[in-house]
């Protein structure tokens, strides 16, 4: 008998499973346990942190200065005019005056805002050809640009698609009145407003020695007044597909109410510290119709801090959450103590 058993141990049985921690389900593990001290302390800590972050955020956001000028109401005559599409050739100018009580210090950003404009509509979002915007010679008929692809005479549109076609085309100039007689054109930067990746990766003009030849054989989208290579005649680096206004427009917004960066204050001369307090006026060449779909247009001037613009949502949300978490912590503690006594 002893012989036999020793023999058996010598020969490793063929079908014997491995004795490894994994196969025997004995992997070292920590068993997560919701113990009272851990839960309660984490609730208190998290609650306090949230409160602190919330208050800090609110205080930060309070430093942001923002002014909104809703000019689709101010320029109601232009709005009216634009409701009728047949007047598209008629120019309409309009001036909106506003006063800065306090000077806006630091970088001042000028946005145009749209309300009730569903840039996030499925049909709208897909209506573009990224390949075309890369400057490639592609057949846009196969893209999602339909129906803004090709004119009946066979000329393709450049750029194609509904997004490009409906590009925001108001031009806005800002004038500063240091006193009742002087008018200073506020210097605004139109370049450098878009993401680096957009400007340098996603948008390229078709290769050619000059832009007008690059876009030869294509035509502007139907709602545009001028072809794409005339978007910025002063600056070749900001023309064609590489135009910052165009690039920014092409980055569709998440919601129907949104604002896009339009210009940045060039901090020179009087404006080195930002926009000084005083009277200003906006000179608007009003092209973009919004009243048809009950939309509104506005111009927004804003400074920025590390957390962005003037938005109290996060600060308030953090504060409330922190308070609720602390409260929950106290309730849990009370319950725990009560039950433990039992």
């Amino acid at each position: 008998m002893t012989n036999k058993s020793s023999k058996r141990t010598q020969q490793h049985p063929s079908r014997c499973p491995d004795n490894s921690a994994f196969k025997q389900q004995r992997l070292p593990a920590s068993e997560l346990e919701l113990t009272a001290p851990a839960v309660l302390s984490s609730f208190f800590i998290i609650g306090l942190v949230c409160l602190a972050v919330g208050i800090c955020l609110i205080l930060t956001v309070l430093r942001v200065q923002e002014i909104q000028i809703n000019y689709s109401d101010i320029c109601s005559n232009c709005s009216k005019l634009r409701e009728n599409a047949s007047n598209w050739k008629t120019e309409c100018h309009c001036t909106a005056n506003f006063t800065l009580e306090l000077s806006m210090e630091g970088d001042v950003l000028m946005y145009y805002g749209l309300q009730n404009f569903f840039q996030n509509h499925r049909r709208y979002v897909i209506s573009r050809s990224n390949a075309q915007l890369l400057g490639k010679d592609v057949n846009i008929e196969n893209s999602n640009c339909e129906p803004f692809t090709i004119y009946p005479n066979g000329t393709p549109m450049a750029p194609c698609g509904a997004i490009a076609n409906s590009m925001f085309n108001d031009t806005i100039h800002l004038s500063y009145y240091p006193n009742s007689t002087t008018v200073i054109q506020v210097p605004l930067l139109k370049r450098g407003n878009s993401w680096w990746t957009d400007k340098n990766v996603k948008f390229f003009n078709p290769p050619s020695h000059n832009l007008s030849s690059a876009f030869a054989g294509s035509a502007r989208p139907p709602y545009w007044e001028k072809p794409v290579y005339l978007l910025d005649e002063e600056d070749d680096e900001n023309n064609g597909y590489k135009n910052d206004d165009f690039i920014i427009w092409m980055r569709v917004s998440a919601f129907a109410t949104f604002k896009n960066l339009y210009r940045r204050l060039s901090r020179i001369n009087e404006f080195a510290d930002g926009l000084p307090a005083g009277n200003y006026s906006l000179h608007i060449s009003y092209n973009f119709p919004v009243t048809k779909f009950r939309g509104k247009k506005q111009v927004v001037f804003s400074t920025v801090v590390w957390s962005g613009g003037r938005n109290f949502f996060l600060g308030i949300a953090y504060t409330i959450s922190g308070a609720v978490i602390l409260l929950a912590g106290f309730i849990l503690m009370a319950l725990h103590l009560k039950l433990r006594k039992k």
Binding site: P13, R15, C16, P17, K23, Q24, Q25, L27, P28, A29, E31, L32, E33, L34, V39, I46, A85, Y111, F118, N120, H121, R122, R123, Y124, V125, A131, L134, K136, E146, P147, A162, S166, N193, S194, W195, T197, D198, K202, V252, S253, A254, F255, F258, K259, L261, K292, F293, S302, W306, S307, G308, G309, R310, N311, F313, L314, A317, Y318, S321, L335
Partner: protein, 1253 residues
């Protein structure tokens, strides 16, 4: 049980079901059974009359004709049947048994077809098609195709692996060879090429490849011994005998090649114990019965070779007919899951419809006037809404989790591997590891309510060992040294002095050996002498070693014990027996063998020793022996006490006694005996009467105690399982006494249990049925009274019921038959209607009766069904399945359990035994019964918990993910714009969120295996479906909805005004999508972390790995290069780096995640403190238990009750002994084959014996 009980077991055969007889397993052909022939005696003296009779029965179904050595005969058109349209096929099955599903060519199409039969896969196929329609496509085609392909490929690989294993099995079995006559010679042929009518030769220890008619064998009179372990689980040998005529003429090869007999017999059926047919050869008809048939699955034993003609092949064989249909088993969770998927589908349609309506309205109000949305199509708003409906379905399709099914399968596969790998379910002795043969049922193991267990080979080892004896006032078998002093360190007794010892008996009583060797007490020697001489065992000394073939394992154990103690049975002839008594060979004349049968419960031999003294030796059940003892027996009382002690130790006891007979007395008796043995009618009864006359005034010699060895740990396992609220039913083909005995020894029955028998409950059920009938008439408060318990509570009850009683109670047989006879020819329409009505009423009554029976049986703590056929086993399982709606598990080892194993929700096979039939059809297999507790309480429970956790989380995560689109729809004109990037949608289910939950599904443990086993009550949650049900499902959904709300609305609030520290792109869609997706990934993965109760480094790795993977892939997809290559597929260029460098965005993500998770933590904490679950409590005290475990030793129930009235009976097997065979001398008379195969080495004596007879 006491003597009254024993006498009860012999019923009046006419009015009561017979407990001893196995009912026929077939219930479709009762009228055939009516015409069954009387049992055919070995002597074929009434051949002609019988053949006349059988011809009568044959007429009716003479369809099955087999002609030996004539393959073309079976291809005649009348034996063809139409299988498919007009393709004709022989009705004789091929012998190959096909187990596989695919071959290399059919694999791809068939597998794809199978896969698309699944609703989920088909659904995604439809989605894929929808996505290619340009008007409605809202998601890129790859969002569906990639996951779908992944799912299909994984499933296909799994199926492929399964099928390859089946191919191997197929080749293994069907390529076994045996000799078949071809062109006049025996040639080795593969099993699969054997055809009906072939003549085959089988050698010793071969398996029988098909059902064959035995023609001749190497043994005298063409006897053939077979082991039927695969068929009925019995390991004792059975003998088959050929027709005399074939025995005589068909010994030579050429004779067999010329054999052209025509066999007409019944159509293939599943009755293992019945066969009727005739052999027509040389214009004479010979009747055939089951004694001449070798069935597929039997093993040839003790017979050098035998010949036979194939009657049924392959699928027609009795074993295949008996194996029942292979059912596709699905788990409860599977069907629940399906319903949930349907529920989600309904949700999906409702949501999409809602969005479609919203879109219609929006288009009317705003869309129509939004010039910038002009798309050149002049669709009306309702039509746009309709298109948008499909668009929404596509966008929200991820609510129906595509990877659900494949993940579930992966998890189950992993769990199956864990079962296969479990060292604690590895049986070293036979080198068998546990094996999950089906990989789709694991979590069902955690929900078992009822276990149906076979007895032989499952609960017991089917090894009988001689344990103790009581001789002349002394009990032997304790641990004692030579002087009879108790020993603390038991030493195994040394049998080296005995040349015949087989070295397998372990015995610790040195004192008994000493007594035998010294011979101080003649009774001790007499005792073992009796064991050596009084039996019907056959000996086989062909291989130099004695090997015994006993009709029952008990008898084998006794004779072997005697052999080891120095009284070796060496050989026997028809009327002599040779025994080595302490090394001295002596031959005794056997004057008569008074064989065992189940009524007599005893057997005796009358022998004449060389000195001429005649003695009767008798062994039998104590109850029958005590009635026949001499009134003045000095040892009567203390033997009784010893028997009681043995019985308490659940040993099977026999009493041994002898009696001296004077010559005159013998002569007188012998005359009667002779007369009785040639009596033509009621021979058995006459013989019994004669036996009775001489078996009286016996002198008690002592008692033996045999252990029907339970497998290790059976009682512990059973009590563990009982604590887990699992009910155990034992279903066995064994005798009632044996089954009851085992019930006691494995602690299913205790002394407190009240045992009910068939007759008891029959009455109960009858009254219940009457009551119910009356109540239906009066229709008063029926529901309440109908469900009242059958028994007053309080007492522990057990039910022991035999197969015949089962049939009786469940109205399986008699009623139906009567009805058939009565209503054979309905003439008028009224009668017809009556007949239908009666039938319906009978059906209803039967159903009611069945339901009542199940209710009653389930009130008993344990149920033992004995004398049941394989079909009945399956029927019992089916009944419980049907009326209790409970999850059942069947465990067994033999082919007789196959049907039951296939019927039950889960079938478990005990492997390592010789037969593999049960294992082949089982879902799980392992070496020992005791592993069942680990399989259920550890693996089953874990699997269930894991699967539930997995499913709950899976539904949650998909809802949290998908519904963000829904909320977003309210802000984008219901235009089914997605809230995330397409690639994120594509990969979310596959890469970003699947690994942690898969690992939890594979590895999670709420408590360790040791604690699971220690607290079986933890198992209950699975039985009650507590962890996953509709309520939990909706909780998960609501949780998902809330998470999706948070994930959407917190970024919404943050984006609504302004964003961006440098003022660029303050509110763009792509940054929003990245913010929401990142929040979701954090929330969902951390949620999984919270749900994980067993944190290994793998889990940690997977959770943080998933998050890292998300960022890694996102940064890649948002990189510059890929956009230039595929500008339309990768549009989010630069979003991740631009968005994620803003602290404001991170604050948004952190807030969303915190708001998602903290309430869950609080809720979990609250439920744990206020309503802790069982496992929570154990988890809390984990450390305490661990410390305890160090010292903790398994409590053994050493405590046993005092003397009890129960007594094990003479538990020989179903069959009679071989006495007939020995007495008839048929195996001894004349011989050409090697005689010593049967007779041992005393050739000369054999010759003598032959001459005298």
């Amino acid at each position: 049980m006491n003597s009254e009980r024993d006498s009860e077991t012999t019923f009046d055969e006419d009015s009561q079901p017979n407990d001893e007889v196995m009912p026929y397993s077939d219930d479709e052909t009762e009228d055939e059974l009516d015409t069954q022939q009387p049992a055919i005696e070995p002597e074929q003296n009434r051949i002609n009359r019988e053949s006349e009779e059988s011809r009568e029965t044959m007429r009716r179904d003479s369809g099955w004709q087999v002609k030996a050595n004539d393959r073309s005969f079976h291809e005649q058109p009348q034996f063809q049947k139409t299988t498919f349209l007009c393709v004709k096929k022989s009705k004789y099955a091929e012998n190959a048994i096909k187990t596989y599903k695919y071959n290399p060519i059919t694999f791809l199409p068939l597998n794809l077809f199978e896969q698309f039969k699944r609703a989920a896969n088909f659904y995604f196929l439809i989605l894929l098609i929808l996505q290619t329609i340009p008007q409605i496509t809202t998601l890129s085609w790859y969002t569906t195709l990639v996951p779908l392909l992944l799912v299909l490929v994984i499933t296909a690989i799994k199926d492929l692996v399964d099928d390859i294993a089946r191919h191997w099995m197929y080749n293994e079995i069907n390529n076994r060879t045996c000799d078949v006559i071809k062109d006049g010679r025996f040639k080795a042929t593969k099993w699969k090429d054997i055809k009906v009518g072939d003549i085959i030769r089988l050698k010793k220890n071969n398996f029988v490849p098909a059902d064959i008619l035995l023609l001749s064998s190497s043994e005298p009179n063409s006897l053939c011994y077979v082991e039927t372990a695969e068929l009925d689980g019995e390991t004792n040998l059975k003998f088959k005998m050929s027709l005399e005529v074939t025995d005589r003429y068909l010994q030579e090869e050429n004779a067999m090649a010329e054999f052209d007999g025509l066999i007409e017999c019944e159509e293939p059926n599943n009755r293992l114990d019945k066969f009727t047919g005739t052999l027509l050869w040389r214009n004479v008809r010979y009747p055939l019965d089951a004694d001449k048939i070798l069935l597929r699955g039997c093993k040839i034993r003790n017979t050098d070779f035998c010949h036979g003609v194939v009657i049924f092949a392959g699928a027609d064989t009795k074993i295949m007919k008996n194996s029942g249909k292979t059912r596709f088993k699905r788990t409860k969770i599977d069907s629940l899951m399906n319903y949930m998927v349907y529920t989600i589908f309904v949700f999906l349609i409702l949501l999409s419809a809602g969005l479609a309506i919203g879109h219609t309205y929006w288009e009317q109000q705003i869309g129509n006037s939004s010039w910038y949305l002009y798309d050149g199509q002049d669709y009306s708003p309702p039509y746009r809404g309709f298109l948008n409906f499909w668009g929404c379905i596509i966008v929200l399709n991820t609510m129906v989790p595509i990877s659900l099914y494949v993940s579930v399968e992966v998890i189950r596969l992993g769990q199956s591997y864990f079962i296969n790998w479990d060292l604690q379910m590895y049986y070293a002795e036979k080198d068998t590891a546990a094996k999950a043969r089906t990989t789709t049922l694991n979590e069902q193991l955690g929900q078992i309510h009822y276990i149906f267990s076979d007895k032989t080979g499952t609960l017991t080892q089917n090894i009988m060992t001689f344990k103790k004896c009581f001789i002349n006032g002394e009990t032997y078998g304790e641990y004692r040294d030579r002087r009879g002093q108790p020993q603390n360190n038991p030493e195994e007794a040394d049998f080296s002095w005995n040349m015949y010892a087989d070295g397998k008996l372990t015995f610790y009583d040195q004192y008994l050996i000493e007594q035998i060797r010294l011979g101080n007490e003649p009774e001790v020697r007499q005792f073992f002498f009796l064991l050596a001489i009084c039996h019907t065992v056959m000996v086989d000394a062909s291989e130099g070693d004695l090997s015994y073939q006993a009709a029952s394992p008990d008898e084998g154990a006794l004779v072997t014990a005697a052999r080891n103690f120095g009284f070796a049975f060496l050989s026997r002839t028809q009327n002599t027996i040779t025994i080595s008594e302490m090394g001295i060979e002596r031959t005794y004349d056997v004057l008569a063998i008074l064989d065992f049968n189940s009524d007599r419960k005893r057997m005796s031999v009358v022998v004449r020793d060389p000195n001429g003294n005649i003695r009767l030796y008798c062994k039998g059940a104590d109850t029958v022996i005590y009635e026949r003892l001499h009134p003045r027996n000095p040892r009567r009382q203390d033997t009784q006490e010893a028997l009681d002690t043995f019985a308490v130790e659940t040993l099977r006891t026999l009493c041994l006694c002898y009696k001296d007979i004077s010559h005159d007395e013998y002569k007188a008796w012998n005359k009667k005996f002779m007369a009785a043995s040639v009596a033509s009618s009621n021979r058995d009864e006459a013989l019994d009467k004669v036996y009775e006359e001489i078996e009286k005034n016996l002198i008690l010699l002592g008692a033996t105690a045999i252990e029907d060895k339970l497998q290790d740990g059976v009682p512990e396992t059973i009590s563990k399982l009982a604590k887990a609220d699992i009910k155990i039913w034992v279903l066995t083909g064994d005798k009632k006494e044996t089954a009851e005995n085992i019930g006691f020894s494995c602690e299913l029955l205790t002394d407190e249990t009240t045992i009910c028998y068939g007759e008891d409950i029959s009455a109960l059920l009858q009254t219940r049925l009457e009551n119910q009938k009356n109540r239906i008439g009066s229709n008063v408060n029926s529901s309440q009274r109908a469900n009242e318990p059958f028994f007053q509570s309080g007492r522990n009850r057990a039910l022991i019921i035999t197969g015949s009683w089962l049939n009786e109670i469940l109205l399986e047989k008699k009623k139906k038959k009567k009805k058939l006879l009565k209503l054979k020819f309905p003439k008028t329409a009224e009668e017809k209607q009556n007949r239908v009505q009666n039938k319906r009423r009978a059906e209803a009554m039967k159903e009611q009766q069945q339901k009542n029976f199940v209710d009653l049986a389930c009130e008993c703590s344990s149920v033992i069904c004995c004398r049941v056929t394989p079909k009945q086993k399956a029927m019992v399982v089916e009944l419980v399945k049907k009326y209790k709606k409970a999850i059942t598990l069947a465990i067994g080892d033999g082919a007789n359990d196959v049907n039951m194993i296939k019927t039950a929700h889960i079938g478990v096979g005990i492997s390592g035994q010789e037969g593999m039939q049960a294992v082949m059809s089982s879902d799980y297999s392992f070496g020992q019964f005791r592993y069942l507790q680990r399989l259920l309480l550890v693996h089953g429970r874990w699997s269930y918990i894991r699967m539930c956790k997995f499913l709950r989380y899976f539904f949650y995560k998909n809802f949290a993910f998908t519904l963000v689109h829904f909320w977003y729809s309210f802000f984008n004109g219901y235009s089914s714009q997605t809230a995330y990037e397409d690639w994120f949608i594509t990969l979310y289910n596959v890469l970003y969120s699947s690994l942690p939950v898969l690992l939890v599904g594979l590895l999670d443990q709420d408590v360790s295996d040791k604690l699971s086993l220690r607290f079986p009550s933890l198992y209950v949650s699975g039985q009650k479906d507590l962890l996953f049900n509709y309520k939990k499902f909706f909780v998960s959904l609501i949780h998902g909805v809330i998470t999706s709300l948070i994930i959407f609305f917190i970024p919404y609030g943050a984006y609504l005004q302004t964003m961006g520290q440098d003022g660029e792109a303050p509110s763009d869609y792509q940054s929003f999508a990245v913010t929401a997706a990142s929040s979701l990934i954090f929330a969902v993965n951390f949620q999984m972390g919270l749900d994980t109760s067993y944190w290994t480094f793998v889990n940690a790795f997977s959770i943080f790995g998933s998050i890292a993977l998300y960022f890694g892939i996102m940064f890649d997809i948002h990189s510059a290069g890929i956009h230039v290559l595929f500008p339309s597929a990768f549009q989010f260029t630069g979003t991740a780096p631009n968005a994620l460098r803003q602290p404001y965005l991170w604050l948004t993500i952190i807030l969303s995640v915190a708001v998602c998770l903290l309430p869950v933590v609080a809720l979990n904490f609250l439920t744990m403190t206020i309503w802790p679950s069982e496992s929570n409590k154990i988890q809390k005290n984990r450390k305490k238990y661990k410390a305890e475990e160090e010292q903790w030793k398994r409590r053994r129930s050493v405590f046993r009750r005092g003397i009890s009235g129960r007594r094990s009976a003479y538990a020989f097997s179903h069959q009679r002994g071989y006495a007939d065979l020995i007495a008839s001398g048929r195996n001894i008379r004349r011989r050409r084959a090697p005689l010593d195969a049967v007779l041992g080495h005393n050739m000369s004596e054999v010759r003598e014996a032959g001459e005298t007879s």
